[in-house]
Each structure stands twice: as C-alpha cells, then as structure tokens.
Symmetry: C2
C-alpha cells in the first residue's frame, strides 16, 4: 500500500472491473482490486472522502436479556452515552487504551474481512457476516436474530422527560428493515452534509460463542441498514466484534477503537482503498505509528479532552521520513536566515508595481469593478443593520466632536454644519468609489492639529484663511495624484506591524484620552456641590420696570415659595426655579442659579454603565448563557418550561401524538439570540443609557445636531473664492504646508488602509491602495473648495465597522469550533451610514434624547476595543507578568524574553514620542515623525536578527494569509497548534533554501545571534 | 516481578547481603537480589520513593562540533528548552510517539543494563558504561572524553540577557568532576525536597559509532555526577542512548521516552526494585499497557497539554484485572442501591449518640480541649490580620444595621449600644468557649423578625417588654439545654445539601436584598434634583427680634451673596448657605435648604466601585498579573528593569562578579503580592472607597458608632428586673413563644454549623455541635438578663471569615497546581474581632470617615460570595443554558437533566415560600417552615431515586470527606478527574454489597428507575 500523499492511483482505472461476487475477499485470500474511486481524486492532495458518521452499538444484558444500545458516536469527536443521565456527553477527543488497539489488530487478523461486499440490505449483510465456517447452524440462526434486533438509540431531544416519546422502546416489529420514525426526525441529520456515509460498529459480550468473532465489512455501495444507525444515512462500513465474556469489557473498548480508527481521515482514506486484509492491517499500523501517547502517571485516562480549536491540518501528517528531515534542520535554517534579508517576500498582487503611469490605479479599478455588483448584494444580512446603527451613531458623535473642535480651532470659519455635511458628502462618495469601502472617512486627530496650526498661522499673518486653505488643498491633491500616478502606494509594504501598531495605538489612545477627557470636562461644566461651596442661593428677580407685582406674588398664592417670599419680605423677588422664572420674564440671580446638581455623577454613571454594558454584551457571544432566552421566556409562560430548557434548545410544539410522545418542530433562531446580543452590543448599550436617562429625567447634556443648512461663517457662500484678500503669491507659497500635509495624509490614509486590509481579516475582494488615495485626493479638492473639513480614513471607527461585520461559520459536527470566515465586504453599510449622517439635520428631534456621556462611553469602548486588538497590548502585558505565568505564546517559544521586552520598549518609546510631539507646538513635524517610524523600523534590522523580526514584526506578504495572526495564535497550547504549525512545507522549503545560500555564515557563526556558544571540541 | 500493590517484599530482608561487585547484573545474566529497600516501606500502600528529577542532555552538532546540551527536564511534568527563546517552556504533560517507545524497548533489550552499579563518581560510571565489548579501545577513549564533557545548562534566570552570566559557556576545566557554580545557585533546588534524586538521560547522534549504544544504569547509591545535572542532586539513574545518525532524531525521542518512563511513579517504583533486564522490560510493558492513546487526526501531537489540576491518584492505577471487575458491575451496583436507604452512612464521630445525658457535650469538650493551645498558636500568620480587619468591619456594619433595625422594631427598648455591647460580649465568649470558633455570632434576620413580633405583642397587650423577653430567654435557654442534654444535635445528619442550600441561599438573598435596599433608601434620603423640582431656593432668615442688621449684611461686604442681598432688597435675609447661617444664629428657610445634592449618585458610585473592586481583587489571586508588582516598581527605578522582569521574578542584586555575571539573591515575597491582594480585597476596597470619599469631601452618610456607654432605654439599669409590671403567670406563658424561638434558634444555629463544618473545608479540628448549642443557650440567658439582643451563628459572615482564612499549598514541582489545604482553625481572629467591636465605641473618631455606601458594597460582595459558593446557583445557571453549552459536570453525567431541573425547581420553590413567609405576618411560623424543609427533603426520597439523590443531595457522612465537592468538581474534564473518580475501592465494595442484597429488586426491575426500558428478548 502506498502512502496517501504519494498515491498514484494505478488501480483507479479498474472501477468497472470490480467483481460483485458474494464475498470479495476473505482474510488471507488473494487481494481483490480496489473499490470504486472518485475520478476527481487524482490530484496529489488527499482527496475528499464523504464524511463518516460512526456509531457504536453495544450488546448489553448478557446473560439475561440481550439488547443493543447505541453507547457512542463519532463525527469528528467522540460523544459518549451518559447512561445515568440519559444524554450525550459533550464532544471530546477520543482516548484509547493501547491494549484495545492491539487486541483489535489480532482479532481482525484472524477474523473475517469483506471488502466491497455487495449486500443491498441489512438482511443480506447479516447473511454474509454470519457466514463463518466455525459457527454451527443453530448458533448462526441465533446470531442472525440478534443482529436484526432493533437497537436503542438516544435521539438528542430525550434529555428532558416530557419529550422521551421518541426514545420509547420499539417493540420488535415485523419489518426490521424499515427505518424508524425517530431516525427521520433526528436533528443530527441537518448537521451532516448530504453525502455523508455511516459506519456501524457492533460490539459486546455474547456467551454462546465459543471463540471471539471479528468481522469487518466495507460495502460496495453504501446501504441504509434499517434501524441500525440513529441517523438515516447509508452505511459504508460495518464491524462486528463479539465474543465470550471472559475478556471483560474489552469488546466495547475494541469497538471504540474501530470507531476511532474509522473517524481518522488517514485511516479512512486507506481503508476505503484497501484491497486486502494486509492493507487494512497496514493502515492500522500506520495509525499506531502516528498516535500520541500520554503517560499514565501524568494523565488520567478517563479525563475528557475538549476538542481543540483547530484540528491538525491533513497536510501536516507528512510521511515520517519527510517529517524527520524537516524539524531540526528547518530550525537551524531559520537561524541561518539572511541577516538583513526581508524574509519570504512575495508582495500582494495589489502592491505589485506595474511601471506604468497610473498603472496601479487602473489595476485597482479593474479589480474592484468586478466585485461591484456583489458589493451591494452581499449587504443583505441583518448584521448589516446593526453595523449601520452602531457606526452611524459613532460617526455622528465623531462629527459633533470634531465639528466642535474645528469650530474652536478655526474661530468659527468651520463648524458643526460643515462637519456634518463634509462627513456625509466625503464618506458617501468614498464608500461608492473607493477600493476599500469598509473604510469610514472622518476628520482625524493629526489632520485637526495641522488645521489648527494653519489657522493660527493665517490669523497671525492676517491672511484670509479659507482661500489660503483652498490652495493648500489644491496642492495636496496634486501631490497625492502624483503619488497615485507613480504608484507610491506600493511603499506600504514597508509598513510592518511595528508601524501599524505604533499608529493604531496612538489613535486608540487619543480616542480613550478624548473620551475620558470629555467626561472630566463635563464634571467641570456641572460642578459637584461640596458642603462648603456657597452655591445655595438663587432668587428670581422681577424686572424693575413696572411689572405688575401681583403677577409675581399672587398668581399662585398656594405656592410655598411665594408664601415664603412674602414671609421673608421679598418685595420684587421670588424663589421660583430658573426655568420657571425665565418663562415668566424674570431674571434668576444668585450664586446657585447656574448650578445643575447631580449631573456630574450621573454622567459618570452613564459613562461607566454604557461602557461596561457594551463590553459585557460583547462577551455574551462567547458565553454559555442567554442562548436559551427562549427557554427563559417559556419558563414564565408556564408548564412548558421543562420542554423549552431541553438539551437542544429546540422549540417543541406540544403536538401530542398517538404514542404520547412529542415531535420536534424546527427551532426559531434561538441559537442566534446570543449572536444578536453580541452584534448589537453598542446599540443596546446606547439604548440602555438613553432609557436610564429618560427615566430619571435629569438635564444631562444631550446630542445636539445643527438644524439649519447654511455655512457657519456668516456671509460666505458655499464656494470658497480662490484668492479672497490674499496676495496671488500665497497660492504658490501654499506648496510648503501642502508638502507636510501630503505626507500626513499619505501616512494617515495608507497606514489605516494597511491595518484594515490586514491578512487576519481574510478579505476576499482585496485592497485598493491606489484607488483609495485617488479618492482621498479628489475629495480633498472638493472639501477645500467648499470650505469643509478634510477627511482621511479613520482607524478606530473603521475597525469597529469591520468588527461589526464579522462572519463566523456555524459549527457543523459536534464539537467543531466555529471559525472566523471573513468580513461582509460591501459598500451599502457605509453608504447608508453617511446618508443618515447627512439627513441627521432633520433627525434632531429624535437624536436630542441621546445623552453625551453615553456616547463617550461608546467611544471608550471603541478605543479599548481597538487597542486591545493589537499584539503590542499583549506584549505590554508580558512586561507585567513573571515568566512563569506568561501564556504559552508562539512568540515566546522562539524569541528570548529580553528581546521581546526590548522590542516592546522601543515601540512604547516611539509611541511616547509621537504623543509628546502631537501635544506640543512641534506638532507640525508630526507627519515627518510618522515617516520616521518607518525609518526606525528599518534601523531595527541592525538590532534584531531576521529570525526575531520574523516573529516580532511580521512582514506584509502573501505568506501570512496562510498563517493567520502569527506569533500569538496558540495562546493556550490546547488550542491545538504549536510551533511546528507555521512550518508548512513551503516555509520549510524556503528556510532550507536560505540555509543553503548562507552556509558560509552558518559555519563562521556570523548568522547565529542568540544561539548557544559552543564549547571546546572533545579531545 | 510482582505488582506494586501486592508486593510482599520477600527479598527486603537481604539488604546486607547485596554484593558490591564491579557490575551487579548485565543484561541476560542472572538476576541479582534487589537493591537496598526502605525498611518502613513494608505497608501495603505504594511506598514513597524519593522524588526524581530527570534531565535530558542531548548531543548536538554532529558531525561538526559536538556539545551536550540540556534540552528537557522532568519532575512531574515536562519542561522543554525553547532554543530560540533561551527559556524553559511552560510545564506540560509529556506526549510521546509510540514508535520511540518501541525503539527504546528493542535498544534496551540488546543494550547494557547495570542494576546497582557501585560507581562512586562520574569517572567510574563512564568507565563502566563504556565497557561494551564491541567498542574498539580508540572509540572507547573518544566516547569517554565525550561523556566527561561539561554539558550546557540553561539555569532559569538566563531568560533576560543581562543575567546570562550564569549560562556562559564553561571551558573544559581540568577537574571535570567539580560541580559548577551555577549548579549550586540553581533556584530549582529550593523547589525540590532535600531527599530528591536525579536521573540523567544522555541521547544523541554520534557518527563514529557503528551500531546503536543503549546503556541503562541504576546506581547502588545515588552519586553527584559532576556537572551532568543542572541541580546539585545525587543521581540514581543514568541512561545513554547514542548511535549513528541514520535514524534521524529518534535518539532524542528515545531519550525523552526514557525520561518520561522514569518520571512515571509506577515505572520508577518497578525499576528501583528490578533485578534483571527482564524486570525492566516488564515494567516498560506495564507502562505501555496503561498509556492513553490520542488519535493523530484529532490531536496535534505537537500541542502541549497544560498540567491537569489533579494528578491521577496512585491507587487508581489498579492492576487491570481489578479494574475490569470494577466498572460495569459497580455501575449497576449503584443502580441497584436500596430504594429508600440512606446510602453509605457512617456518621461523624462528633455526631454519634453516646446515649448518656450530656454525653455529646462532654465528648465535644474533651475533643476540643486537646486543640485549645493550638487554637491560639495557629493564628500567627499575616493572613489572620487581614481576616480580622475584614470581619471586624463586617461585624461592626452588621451591628449598626441590626442595632438600627432593632431600635426601630422595639421602639427604643434596645438600640445601637446594646447591639455593640451584645455582639462584643456574646461573640468573644463564643470564640473562647465554642466548639467551632470560626463561627461569627450576630443578630440574624429570622431572630430579628421574631423579636419584632414579640414586641408588637407585648405593646398590644400593654406588657413590660424586657421582663417578658427575659422569661422567653430563660425558657429558650432551658429548652436548648434539654436539647444539649439529649444530644438532639445528632439530628443535624438530616440536614442535607437540600436544607443547607435552601437556608444559605435565603440568608444570602436577605444580605443582597438588604444591601441594595439600603442603597435605595439612601437615594430616597438624598433625593435627586430633577429639573422640574422647585428646590432651588433657600434663604437665611435673621431672627426677627432685633439682631444688629449690620451683623448680617456688612460683616463681609465683599461676599457676593451679601451684595446680592442688598441688591435684591433683602431686608432681614441673606443667601448664606445653611451651615454658615446656623453658625451665625439665623434660620435657613426655603424648599432647597434640606437639599444635599450629588450624594445619591455619588453613593451609588461608591457602592458599585467598592463591590466591583473587591470582586476584581478577589480574582487577582488567580490571574497572571500583579505578582511582579516588584518588577513594575523596579521598572520605574531605572535601568534595572530588564533584570527585574526576568523569568523567575527574582530580585537580583546587581552584584558584579568576576566573570561579569550576576548572582541570584533570594527574592523578597514577590510571589506573595498577588495572594496578599486577594486576601485583603475587601479591606482594600473599603480603603479605596474611603479615599475617594475623602478626596471629594462630600457629605455622604458615614459610619456612626455610639459614644456613650449606657442603656438606650432611658431609666433602666443594665440588669432587667424579672417581673417588672407584668403579672407573675406571664413567666409561665412565655413558654409558648419560647418553644417557637427554640426551634428557630436550633435550626438557625445548627444549619449554619453544618454549613461551616462541611467536608469541603477540610477542617482538621472537627466540629462541636453540642458545645456550640450549649454556648448559645448560656449566652441566651446572659443577653436576656442584660436586655441585649439575642445571638446565633451568622452564616454569611462566618463563611466570609472562613474564606479569608483559606490555606493553599505552594506549588513545588514545576506545573503542579496549588491545592486547597484547609482553613486556619483558631480562636484568635474571632476573639480580636469582637474585642475590637467592643472598643469601637472609642474608635468613633476614626470610623466616622467610612462612608456607609462602601460598607453596603462590601455587604453585597459578601452576599454574592456566599450565594455563588453553593451548588444551587450552578444548577440554576444550568436552567439558563441549552444542554449543548452546559459544562461537563459529574452531576450531569449521572442524572437526567430533567431530574436535575426538577430538583432545582423544588429548591427554588421552597426558597420562594420561605421568603414569602419571612416577609408576611405569617413570619411567626418561620421556625416551623425550617423544620418543614427537612420534611420536604425526606419526602423527596419518594420522588427521586437514591442514585439521583446521591448525586444531587449528598449525605453528610464520613465518606464525603474523601470525595470533596462531589457532583461538581470536574467542571472541565481537563481538570483531570472523571466519573470513575468517586469509585474508590471502598465505594465499589459497598455498591457490590448493596447489589447482592437487593438482587431480587434488580431482577424484577424495581430498583431500576431511570434506567433503560428493555426490549423483547430475541426470538
């Protein structure tokens, strides 16, 4: 037999020649040709065989009343029948005892092996199986009757007593072959692909047998074996292991061993193609070669291992020769890697330089055009609705924040309305045209700082700001177009994790700082009343000029304060509260009039509650609770509660049937409840905050959007005049600031683009760096001409946007973990967000109920979410942990801790420097510092070895698409992957090439930083 | 060779006869007698062999520069050298490939096996090891030189580069035998017991060997083999596996296999006693019989399995015959258990009825007397300090709460001072005298309710309350003494988990309800200012009677409010704030004068912060962070930061040494930081709350303790007169309420005692149910006579007390999890708490800075802690989870989910009923309802089968001391224990007996509730 990976399929042509005799091959006889093979399985990868559902039916009750009972089942993992509890166990990694495998081997070697058995029904199969010569006719009859007996299945829903109808014992009916009703209704069927096949394993003690009976059958065509399998699937394999009870329970264990063997893809592959007993045993031996052995003293064999997050990849199970060649040399190859080389660097297709003017742009447009229709059709999912709400609120809050800041920074030359209009126009245009429509455009901190500096400059030199700004914008657009034309965006390949993380951390920190800062500003605006502060008094003073005195004192004679007023001898004053006073035309006077008590602490409460609630809801997605909100609801409904909290969370219509049981009807999307709660976490948190605020009715600061559509600066039209009062040469001098701004725009835009197009998000439709920059340039021109703010990609909101559009697989087989599939890449959510932003001017009556502290809380949530998504955060945490307690990160297995800390420290230092520059008058050189970040990263190549940088600072290359989140993934080694994980054959090959070409360095020891010093050679 | 459990040591007498020849036994030659045996190892349990530290030295560099490097080490788990990172991996369960074990077996079978080798040094050992006939003299010389070469060790501290001194390559010195400096300094030495021995495994590829060389040596006496082992330990075993490089890296894997084998206790036991190669191979085969096998397709062999929480118990590894006999029949035995029987019921010695009057009390006193001295000496631990602070604050808060409530309930007949005094006197007396001094006495909710009813009754019938109460107390004390005399406390064996949990949940819910309720009361006392509420005005009115007007208006002419006053034409009023106004003799008038703004929300914030902070700090204990607070501090200190954040969290003095390296000095208790933070969580939370409150300086309600020492009711002395104005027959009529109160006191006291003396706390000094009740009775008399409140054990505070005194083992071997050892059982913490409570009257100036909301937060924390410690809570959570997501609880493996839910529902219904009764006028029958709880539990025996109750409602028996926290323990199956865990041999034996005696039931199917219905027998 060949190994799967090297299979040449020389027998696959003989499909039609398979003999269809009664018994294809018996143990020891000549091997017959292979069974039918998929014709499309000729490629070198292991071909995809149908999924196998394996069931163990155990014979129980000897010597009294014999019965078959399903006590185990396997798809990917093992599920065991908990007899006492009457439920299936949680899926777990099957563990075997070595002796059971060995006993199985010897039993099969002596037993009956039928490959390509042509039986068409259970009856025919039983006929064949019992054709062992040493069985007396009487025994054979008894055995046949036993094998035709209907086994007991536990269909999942029987966990709760009222539903046990479907597990009621079935009296032996006349037609043993007819599938049972519960087989049809088994919900497991929906979890299995339609082409799935079954394997039946029957094992147990049978006292009237004189010697053990082992039969292994591969059916020529899969056949539905009556009620043998709990799901209505055609069976491909059948295995019978019976014998006298002397061996204790080892038949059960041997049955489990067969089932585990069949659930192993490699063994299954081999045994589907086996042509003789010899092949079968060889496959078993190959399995034994590869098993993992746990020592008995350190591992309780009865402990259940939960399914690993990721299964070992098929292609990792290389033939042992290849495996042995790989590891030590590959490790050394890694050591010997080119010291200043850039590693396996095959750039993205979208980042390959075409060499033609605007070549990259043209390529981007062509690539994106093909996806354009699907960019709208892919948005038809309820998740998008949540994303729109969430991002809309974030965008509006951002527009208000930056609008306010901008109005402050430019002394009213731009304001809230410009911010809304600009956000809507620029954002919508970008979402319609750009290469990466998941990007959310926004005013960003660095650009705002630049604008503030520009305004100060023009005010100090008495320049007309908006025309000057227009020229800066024209120049920036020109420079950006030049960058697009020269395909400068391919330089983003130098933006490694180091740059990305530095920038992302900075922007996230600004977000967090702003959110907290604004909260503290609120507490300053609404000061806390300390006992000593003399802010109690406030009187309502009447207008001196002849108001009718009775108007003030006698309109409400029963009012306590009016009585007091008279009481106290107040003549032209009253104790009416300020709003009431103003309504009646008076003036509130006194130190306590401006005081709005309780607002400060209530705002803090709202802020904390919305942040914590959004964070908590986010985690609901991965918790065990809430999915059965349905069951909670039904709990209150009444007597049905026991039904609804049943094992499968299925809504069971209470349809009484003839046998008193209950049938299963399809469950409404109750499994989705948790997911929806997670997806809508921020929206729900905002709603909670608004509800709480409305309930208490305090005068917290609310979201205020502009209501009138006209420029904030009085007396200007929408179009900015090109010169205004400025001299003509200023349009040329604007080149200088434009140069700096161009660097800033390029860096800000492209680093964000790199972060968003990161391989870990598994984007299918690709990036469009050139097209994005082109769009930004065009919008620069437009916004400058209209006097609107400038826009580039906003890192944090865009990340939040993508995060709200994550797609995850639903688990299929029991125990299989859901995996991240990618992002819903489409243009619609962004578009709707910006259209809504534009129309927000008309939504003011609704939006005014949203308290600002709640939105600040959501800002904090976004900032914390963004900063905790980067590896830098995890490495900073490492600084605070003693090595003993550090998680088992891949990174730490390959790079000395001190080097990791050094890298983190350098990143933190850069971050600190950027923060300082941003906050001081030196902010004008901030764009240059961003460039400097790339330079520092280059300089790091003299400090760190390429191997270290490979782990610490992944390069943006095609390679990483196959190695998601390198360096951090196996946070706990139980997640199933390990150091060898990244050593895919390609990587090994590359390392080996590197090793060969740098053998001189290796020998001289030059390439061996971090390796072990060598002692003297032995005498 | 015999199995360890059956060993009869027939050769152990021959210790002196062991020959000391050059070579005791060579493979294939006659077996020599056993090596020296411990004489105290003759008992039937597996004798304790010394712990073995095993090290794998790998030969690297062939064919270039050969060097030995330590690449793996084992104590309990495996630690692997991460070559790239230069650190030891996290300890993990070792996994092996099956072929390496098989290859090892065949290599050893052909190789050289020296048992009881008399070598006294590495040189002698090398001489013996290289004595293989097929080695040529030249090869032998080369091999000797190679084996004497100093290996490279990675001493732990070298993870950070500045400390790499100790891992500097050692030049081959003249004296190969002398231990290295770093061996002496290895911190690992401190983690190993002094009697530990070492095993050295040397493996690798050596090209000049023509054939594989396998040598296994057991040294007669453990010998320090020079620098071979990184820790300075005498070696007992030595294994050499070398060979030509054709086999790839299999020598390394074979070396790992030897190491794993040696680290297995059973194999080690066998090989220490092996007398021939045959024994060695038999031990290996026995190991193989027991290994756990993981299938390759479902488990990545390179994944690292974290150490299980509990290791498989040695006695679980029974010989296979015993094991096979045990399981299926034992399971059926469990099914066949006596239907109404009470299970394995061997009562605690303290609950065995003596049959003599006061026999139990005498027994309790005798038993407790022997522990009395240690009850004080055991308190000498810093943890006790934290416990005192925590419980003191809880007790004082409780005293204030109940004092206030009592004052309200009795119309001032008792008050705050009585509460303080009574708590101090009763608590301290109880701590000094009682059987379970960990108990904290307190007024409890049920008793308070009773007292309120008693007071209403005496007020309604114009009785003198305190004398009436005195008679009730006298009668209760009498009844209690009768209960003590008749040893009624043995009835607590009927208090099962059902009763305990119902009561504990009720008390915890009352705690939580009270904490939240008091917070809401606060917000009512300090109302929130809504915009509409007309509470702005407050004027300071001058006394009408001729105050000097200038005193009011002109003393501070610059005051803004005074200017305003004049401004507004205020004649005899000013806007001074109320305190200032009062100081100057005026009256504040107006609706806004009573308003204290901001207090409500600030109180809520304080409440939440103290609760969340205490909860978070509690979890610090199990987190990965903070232990290296030391490293954070040193981070700021300066350049030492890289040192301090080094792998072992060792404070390294920067002592420059000759070779430029750094030596290790002992670490201050930095590993304890985390533990201290956890232990002091509540105290720290209180301090944080106080700090925050003091910083803002708001007038939050503070803790107020009484300052004067006299009865609250004016005009009474300390002693209550026996009759007062009551008729004489009232002293007899008091029997009736006393009867109810006696039931209440007995139940309240004894259920709490049962909860506190639960087996899961692993108390060493035993309970004292009779003595406790005696103390309560005596204190009842005392408090009634002095007119102080009545006291019984307080569940929640006592649980908090015990929780703050938990002892946990420090992990020894790498990867070993710390285990719960028990509680610091002593009398001192309680005593100090109550003495402090008594002196609190003098501590008022300090205590007045503690805001009440903070204490309410701590109450909430205590209530939540108590309620989440009971199984009921976990079962209620199960109600909210679909079965698929439920944790893998033992309970759920053995009891159908619907039965679990039914049990939970009944418990919840009982809880609801108790709550309703407690809150309504029917509260007087509350004591009877507590008794009813026991009755309901008895009735449950007709609803649930004994097997179900065995899992759902453990019985209080001696058995459970060996089965801690049955039913819930293996929350995740990875924790290492499983269903078979509870089937200790004794349990199995008992089940089997039960099965035999009830075989009739079994056959008729009567004892088979919950089992599977049987189909018709086959035709």
């Amino acid at each position: 037999m060949k190994l799967p990976g090297q299979e040449e399929f020389e027998v696959s042509g003989s499909c039609e020649n398979v003999p269809t005799g009664e018994m294809d091959s018996v143990a020891g006889s000549d091997p017959s040709p292979d069974g039918p093979l998929d014709t499309d399985s000729r490629d070198l990868r292991v071909p995809k065989d149908p999924l196998l559902f394996i069931q163990l039916n155990e014979l129980l009750g000897w010597p009294q009343v014999l019965e078959w009972r399903e006590t185990g089942r396997w798809v990917l993992f093992e599920e065991k029948l908990e007899v006492g509890a009457g439920r299936w166990s949680t899926p777990h990694v099957p563990t075997l005892a070595l002796p059971s495998l060995q006993k199985l081997r010897s039993l099969l070697a002596k037993g009956l092996v039928l490959l390509d058995c042509p039986a068409q029904s259970l009856l025919e199969l039983v006929e064949q199986v019992t054709g062992v010569e040493w069985l007396s006719p009487e025994l054979r009859g008894q055995l046949k009757a036993l094998l035709l007996q209907t086994p007991q299945h536990l269909i999942q829903s029987t966990g709760t007593s009222p539903c046990q109808g479907s597990a009621q014992p079935r009296e032996a009916s006349h037609d043993e072959e007819a599938p049972l009703k519960e087989q049809h209704q088994n919900p497991l069927k929906r979890k299995l692909p339609p082409e799935a096949e079954a394997g039946a394993v029957l094992a147990g003690e049978l006292g009237f047998l004189a010697q053990p009976l082992g039969v292994f059958v591969r059916l020529q065509e899969p056949v539905v074996l009556g009620p043998l399998i709990e799901v209505l699937l055609p069976s491909r394999f059948f295995c019978l292991l019976l014998g006298p009870p002397t061996l204790g329970r080892s038949y059960r264990e041997m049955g489990r061993a067969v089932a585990v063997l069949l659930s192993d893809p490699q063994f299954q592959w081999s045994v589907r193609r086996a042509s003789s007993l010899h092949d079968l045993l060889a496959a078993l031996d190959a399995f034994l070669e590869e098993v993992t052995v746990l020592p008995p003293g350190r591992w309780d064999p009865t402990a259940r291992i939960p399914p690993p997050k990721r299964l070992p990849a098929e292609n990792k199970r290389l033939p042992s020769q290849l495996r042995e060649a790989k590891s030590p040399s590959a490790q050394r190859g890694a050591l010997a890697e080119d010291r200043h080389g850039r590693g396996p660097h095959i750039p993205n297709p979208e980042l390959q330089r075409t060499g033609r003017l605007f070549g990259g742009l043209v390529q981007d447009v062509c690539r994106k055009a093909s996806w354009y229709p699907s960019d709208f059709s892919d948005a038809l999912h309820p998740q998008c609705f949540s994303a729109v709400l969430y991002i809309y609120l974030a965008t509006v809050t951002n527009a208000i924040t930056f609008g306010g800041l901008l109005g402050e920074a430019t002394d009213g030359a731009q304001g809230l309305l410009e911010s809304f209009l600009g956000t809507a126009v620029a954002g919508a245009t970008f979402c319609l045209m750009a290469g990466q429509p998941l990007t959310i455009l926004s005013s960003t901190g660095p650009v705002l700082v630049f604008e503030r500096l520009l305004f100060s400059f023009s005010r100090d030199h008495s320049l007309d700001y908006l025309p000057f700004r227009l020229w800066v914008g024209i120049w920036v657009a020109t420079f950006c177009l030049v960058l697009v034309a020269t395909e400068a965006s391919v330089l983003v390949r130098y933006f490694t994790r180091f740059t990305e993380e530095g920038f992302c951390a900075l922007i996230s920190l600004i977000f967090i700082y702003d959110a907290v800062g604004k909260m503290l500003n609120l507490t300053r605006a609404y000061p806390i009343q300390r006992p000593g502060s003399p802010a109690y008094g406030c009187l309502c003073q009447y207008p001196d000029l002849g108001g009718n005195e009775s108007q003030w004192t006698s309109t409400k004679p029963k009012d306590r304060d009016d009585i007091l007023s008279m009481d106290l001898g107040l003549v032209n004053a009253s104790l009416l509260p300020p709003p009431e006073c103003a309504r009646r035309g008076g003036h509130s006077r006194g130190p306590g009039c401006d005081m709005v008590p309780d607002i400060a602490f209530f705002s803090i409460l709202l802020f904390l509650i919305s942040f914590l609630f959004a964070t908590a809801l986010k985690h609901v997605k991965t918790s065990r609770f809430f999915p059965s909100v349905v069951s909670v609801i039904s709990l209150s409904v009444g007597q049905n509660w026991l039904l609804a909290s049943s094992p499968v969370c299925k809504w069971k219509g209470v349809q009484k049937e003839g046998d008193g049981g209950l049938s299963l009807t399809k469950c409404p999307p109750c499994g989705q409840v948790r997911k929806v709660l997670g997806d809508f976490s921020s929206v729900l948190a905002i709603l909670l905050g608004c509800g709480l605020d409305a309930y208490l009715g305090l005068a917290t600061p609310k979201l205020m959007v502009p209501r009138e559509f006209k420029p904030t600066l009085p007396g200007r039209g929408w179009l900015v005049s090109p010169f205004g009062t400025n001299p003509w040469w200023l349009s040329v001098a604007a080149v200088l600031p434009a140069l700096l701004l161009s660097i800033l725009i390029f860096m800000d835009q492209q680093i964000t683009a790199v972060i968003l197009n990161h391989a870990k998000y598994r984007l299918q439709k690709g990036a469009g760096f050139h097209l994005d920059l082109f769009c930004v340039a065009v919008l620069m021109l437009l916004t400058s001409a209209l006097g609107l703010p400038w826009y580039v990609s906003a890192t944090v909101i865009s990340l939040a946007h993508m995060d709200s559009l994550r797609r995850e697989s639903r688990a299929r087989a029991p125990g299989e973990a859901p995996s991240f599939l990618g992002i819903r890449e489409q243009r619609l959510t962004g578009l709707v967000v910006f259209i809504l932003t534009g129309t927000s001017i008309f939504l003011a009556p609704v939006l005014k109920y949203i308290p600002m502290p709640v939105l600040y809380g959501i800002f904090l949530y976004m900032g914390v979410g963004a900063i905790s998504s980067i590896q830098l955060t995890k490495r900073v945490q490492l600084l605070l942990m003693p090595a003993k307690h550090q998680p088992d990160l891949l990174l730490l297995r390959h790079v000395p801790l001190s080097r990791v800390h050094l890298f983190t420290a350098i990143q933190l230092a850069c971050l600190g420097l950027l923060w300082i520059i941003k906050s001081t008058p030196a902010a004008i050189i901030f764009p240059l510092m961003l460039l400097g970040l790339v330079g520092i990263r280059k300089a790091l190549e003299w400090v760190f070895s390429p191997r270290e940088l490979f782990w610490l600072d992944e390069l943006m290359s095609e390679k990483e698409r196959s190695i998601p989140e390198k360096g951090l993934e196996p946070e706990y080694s139980l997640s199933g992957s390990d150091s060898e994980d990244v050593f895919t054959p390609e990587v090994v090959l590359w390392f080996n090439c590197q090793m060969l070409s740098h053998l001189e360095n290796w020998n001289s020891g030059a390439g061996l930083e971090g390796s072990w010093p060598r002692p003297q050679s032995p005498a």
